[in-house]
């Protein structure tokens, strides 16, 4: 007989609310009349996210394993869940924007219509707006929240798929350049499936090694057995492949630039920020809770991967002329810096990485939000040339973008500097000083392409008849403003949030 575990409803509420709202959203799609769907979905989405955040605040301070030990409710889990919800909120603001494109929002009116077909033209003419994105979005958010809290390999895998599958679909839904978008979705799906296979195989091997799938059990097995068996090493390696794919670490990063460029920009923002937070949450929990005992084995791997990641991200970023792709490489480089924080394997490292994720996530959403504003007739103009002289023609847009770039580059008085400083000092304290030196060099290289954009915006003549900045509605302004506020406030006055991350930096075992 299967023993049904006790369910701690309150501790689970943040995740459950989002998932239930997503499920209701699916029903709404089936039963509600077409015109009523969008308002209902928006209410559902924002209501669920805000309620979820409220419950995170309520259960903050919990420190226990729930649902028979397969899920953890603890400081890091809740901090990162909160980060994910905030990222999702800002992304949702971008997704609901419909003032920018002359035809509606950023999504194809009907995903099923062939690109360029008569159907598509009609749907566009009728001004249909896609509403299925909302339940997909919520389920993905729920998956992310589970991902950072999963405490056994099975739930970890389920969460991975839950967050990924909706994203594969969302990535293919861009209203403009649909073929590129669909290609991106296809690539993301294929490679994602490929990496999931590695992940699953790794999980199976770890189960073979430990005889259990819970993280705590694996840790016990490692400390108990003393000697490292090939099963453990192969299992860890393959598990890493799956996780590192999600954070776009080199050499599992190739998908990122293509997918980021092809996806609808609000989804890119959500992916770049949310997936990164979720996947790093999972990596942190796996490395700290499950395989911390084998640190001597996996640390060199992560060191080398981290080094490769920030160097490839920074160096290839130099050659990009498309801002979306440039931000993709920037996110790869940041994955490298974050991995550095993971390898610190200390409370300082954990707190630093979480702080970094928060600041990076929110400013990334803001930066992608700004990318949606500069447009031509046929959609967003993301080539570097389109942003010439923006400092003169649109000082606010240019100033906000420059702020985000400064933050990405890690220039003081922005949140990015504090995050980078915290991560680097934690890594240096853990004995990876040589890698920190390399990371600083890589940041210097990356700073070059960030600052190049600033130079283009402020020191080149505006092109007379180029792309225009479209005035967005309040929702995009909220998303960008939120990013700006966080970037500035956490850059100048980071202590409260640093303290919060520090308090939250103990995993439940």
């Amino acid at each position: 007989m299967i023993e049904f575990p006790e369910i701690q409803w309150l501790q689970l509420a943040p995740v459950i609310i989002v998932l239930i709202a997503g499920s209701i959203g699916v029903l709404v799609e089936s039963f509600a009349p077409r015109t009523a769907r969008r308002p209902i979905q928006l209410w559902l989405t924002f209501g669920a996210l805000i309620a979820s955040f409220a419950f995170i605040v309520i259960v903050a301070g919990s420190f226990e394993l729930v649902v028979g030990g397969s899920m953890a409710v603890d400081g890091p889990g809740l901090f990162l869940q909160g980060t994910i919800v905030l990222v999702a909120l800002l992304s949702a603001f971008l997704m609901m924007e419909k003032n920018l494109d002359v035809a509606g929002d950023a999504f194809a009116p009907r995903a099923s219509a062939m690109p360029g077909s008569e159907d598509e033209r009609q749907f566009t003419a009728l001004r249909y707006l896609q509403t299925e994105i909302w339940p997909l979005f919520l389920i993905s958010v729920g998956g992310m929240m589970l991902f950072v809290a999963a405490n056994d390999l099975l739930l970890l895998f389920i969460a991975l798929e839950m967050l990924s599958l909706p994203l594969y679909i969302l990535a293919g839904m861009a209203r403009r350049r649909r073929l590129l978008s669909q290609e991106a979705a296809m690539k993301y799906f294929l490679l994602g499936a490929f990496s999931s296979a590695f992940f699953l195989y790794g999980a199976a091997l770890l189960y073979g090694f430990a005889g259990t799938i819970t993280f705590g059990g694996i840790q016990e097995a490692i400390t108990g057995q003393g000697s490292m068996t090939p099963l453990l090493i192969a299992g860890m390696g393959m598990l890493f492949v799956g996780l590192l794919f999600k954070v776009a670490a080199v050499p599992f990063h190739n998908w990122a630039p293509d997918v980021y460029q092809g996806s609808p920009t609000p989804i890119t923002a959500f992916m770049a920020a949310g997936v990164k937070v979720a996947a790093f949450g999972a990596i942190l929990r796996v490395t700290y809770v499950a395989i911390g005992g084998a640190a001597w084995d996996w640390r060199p791997v992560l060191w080398i991967i981290a080094g490769l990641t920030f160097f490839v991200g920074a160096i290839v970023g130099l050659a990009q002329t498309d801002l979306k792709r440039m931000l993709a490489y920037s996110s790869i480089a940041h994955a490298g810096f974050l991995l550095l924080g993971v390898t610190a394997l200390s409370t300082e490292g954990l707190a630093a990485t979480m702080f970094y994720l928060l600041t990076y996530g929110l400013s990334t959403v803001g930066a992608f939000g700004l990318l949606t504003l500069v447009r031509t007739e046929t959609g967003e103009a993301t080539s570097l040339d389109s942003w010439r002289g923006l400092g003169r023609t649109n000082p606010w847009v240019a100033a906000a973008f420059a702020l985000f770039l400064f933050s990405f580059a890690g220039i003081p008085l922005t949140a990015g500097f504090i995050g980078k400083f915290a991560v680097f000092s934690a890594a240096a304290a853990s004995g990876a000083g040589w890698l920190v030196v390399l990371a600083v060099i890589a940041s210097a290289i990356a700073a070059f392409f960030y600052l190049r954009v600033v130079v283009v915006m402020y020191f080149s003549e505006p092109t007379g008849s180029g792309p225009k900045v479209v005035v967005p509605s309040w929702s995009t302004k909220m998303a960008v403003g939120g990013g700006v506020a966080v970037t500035l406030v956490l850059g100048i006055f980071p202590q409260p949030v640093l303290d919060l991350a520090q308090q939250a930096s103990i995993f439940v075992q």
């Binding site: 590695f198 050499p251 190739n254 290839v316």
Partner: protein, 655 residues
């Protein structure tokens, strides 16, 4: 937001003196008005912000606001003075702690202000003379389209100077110090479309930077030595510190002071700074800026008393500048530049006094206060002349202006009486004190002060007669008339100060007693009787006046400077070759150095940078090829990645 916790410092002053008197902390609440003295700074800051941020919208009333935010602090200052005079002597120093200002690690400096008898004197001088200059500027700048901006800068100047004299630690003082430097740069270069003004502003700025390096070095040394930059803590700890270090700190502070106060060797900017509008010259010369160096030295008296070498250097600098400035003043045909030479010389008097140690600090401040009044009066009168002579300044083209500008003649004459030291006007008291004190400590310095007094009489008489007496030598186009009351009224007020300030300070107020708790005072012993000194001084003055009067009032003054003159005159006309020396010793070698550095930067540093950059971008383009868009090759990369991970695991296992 600002927590206003106040503390009174008690000063013990009874010992008659060899040891410097230093403040000892005793906590007590400062009630009433003293909780609010930060408003002294807040008002001009507010004015500056409104005028500079408000922009053109404030053009209509900006000058009035700008004047009001200096007048109000003057009112507050007077009220504070009355309050302070009512207090017991040991209750007069008040510290207002506003907030902690942590700069880095354990390097903290409190955001704390200090009001004591010394800063009180400065507050009144700055706001009082400053107010009159503001009022005068309303008229003087009435035709300038940027008058509002001018008032914004003036307010910045006043605010920075007040911060400088009210700071309770050296770091905050440094903030004010730099603020003064910035404001002077903005104001000297106010007519920046004139090349000469822009160059002069730059020169003032650069030379002040040299001095500022001294101040920052001094502050760093203090922090390293004493672990603090607060006045009391530094002064209290100075006694136990290594004498060499204290001497070094003293010399660093002196370097700073020579920059701000235009003393040798950093004096050359002052003459050029005359390019600014005349109210600025008055402000720089009388109430602010140049007095900052004297303030710094007198404020740091506890340090200088322990560093006799540094103190002697102060004396030497003072004496040299006092004489050299007077010589420059004697030969310059430009009215304002002649007055600028005079400022150097008078500040030199103050440095001389300060260099005498406890015997002279009080007199340095006394003369500073007197100078603030008569020099402001002289400058504003000169500005009035200039305003009505189409901005000409060549005294050889003035003459006989008394016939058309009776008020200005009167006020200038008042300034003349004040500066030369004719009894019983300002300098008669302050300069005599310095002369006596110098004679008692160092006869050479004493003789120099008497000689400089004679020179002062000479160049002032020369200015007076060339400008207001003699025959008309005007250019064709000028039609001088008297200035409007908005300009003449402040001049009259200042004249009163120039005439009766000394009397007031000696017989009504007793400045010496007022300042002694802060600066300490040791009266010197004169080798000859008092009356003899006075007789000698007055005789010297008479000689100076007579020589100049005969030369410039009774004989005709040629409209072009005569050529066959003594080498000394030639040198004096060229400001004693200051610019040539600066250029030869510093500017040209500096230019060669920068040229070399530029060359090295282009070839060496940039070479490496460019090489690296092109290397990296080459790598970037090659790596980009891996991003070919095919999912299959991406999958292949991943497989390679798996192999790499496996390899690392294996290698790290067996290595």
């Amino acid at each position: 937001m600002i927590s206003l916790a106040s503390t009174i410092l008690s000063t013990s002053d009874e010992e008659p003196a060899v040891e410097p008197i230093t403040a000892v902390v005793s906590a007590a609440e400062a009630g009433g008005l003293f909780e609010w003295f930060w408003l002294l700074i807040a008002f001009p800051v507010f004015g500056m912000l409104v005028l500079l941020i408000g922009g053109r919208r404030t053009n209509a009333w900006g000058h009035l606001l700008g004047t009001a935010v200096v007048l109000v602090p003057f009112g507050i200052g007077v009220a504070l003075l009355i309050d302070m005079m009512g207090r017991a002597e040991d209750q007069r120093s008040v510290v207002l702690h506003m907030w902690d200002w942590t700069i880095a690690g354990n390097f903290t400096a409190d955001m704390a202000l200090r009001l004591d008898p010394l800063s009180m004197v400065f507050v009144l001088l700055i706001t009082g003379v400053g107010s009159l200059i503001h009022i005068y500027s309303i008229g003087y700048m009435s035709h300038d389209p940027d008058r509002r901006k001018f008032f914004g800068f003036l307010n910045l100047f006043i605010a920075a100077m007040l911060l400088l004299v009210l700071a309770n630690n050296y770091l905050l003082l440094y903030v004010g110090w730099e603020g003064v430097g910035l404001a002077s740069y903005l104001l000297v270069g106010f007519w920046q479309y004139k090349n000469s003004a822009a160059v002069a502003a730059k020169k003032a700025f650069v030379m002040n930077r040299v001095g500022d390096v001294g101040l920052s070095l001094g502050i760093m040394l203090m922090f390293v030595t004493f672990g603090s930059v607060a006045f009391e803590e530094v002064f209290a700890a100075a006694g136990e510190a290594d004498g060499t270090v204290v001497t070094l700190i003293g010399l660093a502070l002196l370097l700073a002071a020579t920059g701000k106060s235009a003393q040798y060797p950093l004096q050359a900017w002052l003459l050029d700074a005359m390019e600014g509008p005349t109210p600025v010259s008055a402000l720089i010369h009388a109430a602010t800026m140049v007095t900052a160096g004297v303030y710094l030295i007198v404020r740091s008296n506890a340090l200088f008393d322990l560093a006799p070498i540094a103190l002697n250097v102060v004396l030497v600098v003072g004496v040299v500048t006092m004489v050299a400035g007077a010589v420059i003043g004697c030969a310059n045909d430009d009215l304002k530049k002649s007055l600028a030479g005079s400022t150097m010389s008078q500040i030199g008097y103050m440095f001389t006094a300060a260099g005498l140690g406890p015997a002279g600090y009080v007199f340095a401040i006394f003369h500073l206060l007197m100078h603030g009044m008569f020099k402001a009066d002289l400058f504003l009168s000169a500005g009035s002349v200039m305003h009505n002579m189409n901005d000409q300044l060549n005294m050889r083209r003035f003459g006989a202006l008394r016939t058309v500008m009776i008020v200005t003649t009167g006020t200038f004459f008042a300034g003349f009486l004040g500066i030369t030291g004719v009894p019983p006007f300002d300098s008669f008291f302050s300069k005599d004190d310095i002369i006596k004190s110098a004679l008692s400590q160092n006869w050479l310095a004493g003789i120099a002060t008497i000689f400089a007094a004679g020179l002062t009489a000479f160049y002032m008489t020369r200015q007076l007669s060339m400008t207001f007496f003699g025959k008309k030598r005007w250019t064709q186009d000028v039609k001088p008339k008297e200035s409007p009351p908005v300009m003449t009224v402040p001049m009259i007020f200042l004249s009163a100060g120039a005439l009766f300030g000394g009397l007031t300070m000696v017989y009504l107020f007793n400045l010496q007693e007022w300042l002694t708790p802060i600066t300490g005072f040791t009266p010197g012993e004169l080798p000859i009787p008092d009356w003899a000194v006075e007789v000698i001084t007055i005789a010297t003055l008479a000689i100076g006046v007579t020589l100049a009067w005969r030369q410039y009032a009774t004989r005709d003054v040629p409209e072009t400077p005569p050529v066959n003159v003594t080498p000394l005159t030639v040198a004096a006309r060229k400001s004693l070759y200051a610019d040539a020396i600066n250029e030869g010793l510093f500017m040209r070698p500096g230019q060669h150095l920068t040229r070399f550095l530029v060359w090295f930067d282009n070839r060496g540093v940039d070479g490496i940078v460019r090489g690296t950059a092109s290397g990296v971008s080459g790598l970037s383009n090659r790596l980009k090829l891996l991003q070919n868009g095919y999912a299959r090759s991406y999958a292949l990369t991943m497989v390679v990645g798996v192999l790499v991970i496996a390899a690392i695991f294996i290698v790290s296992r067996w290595v």
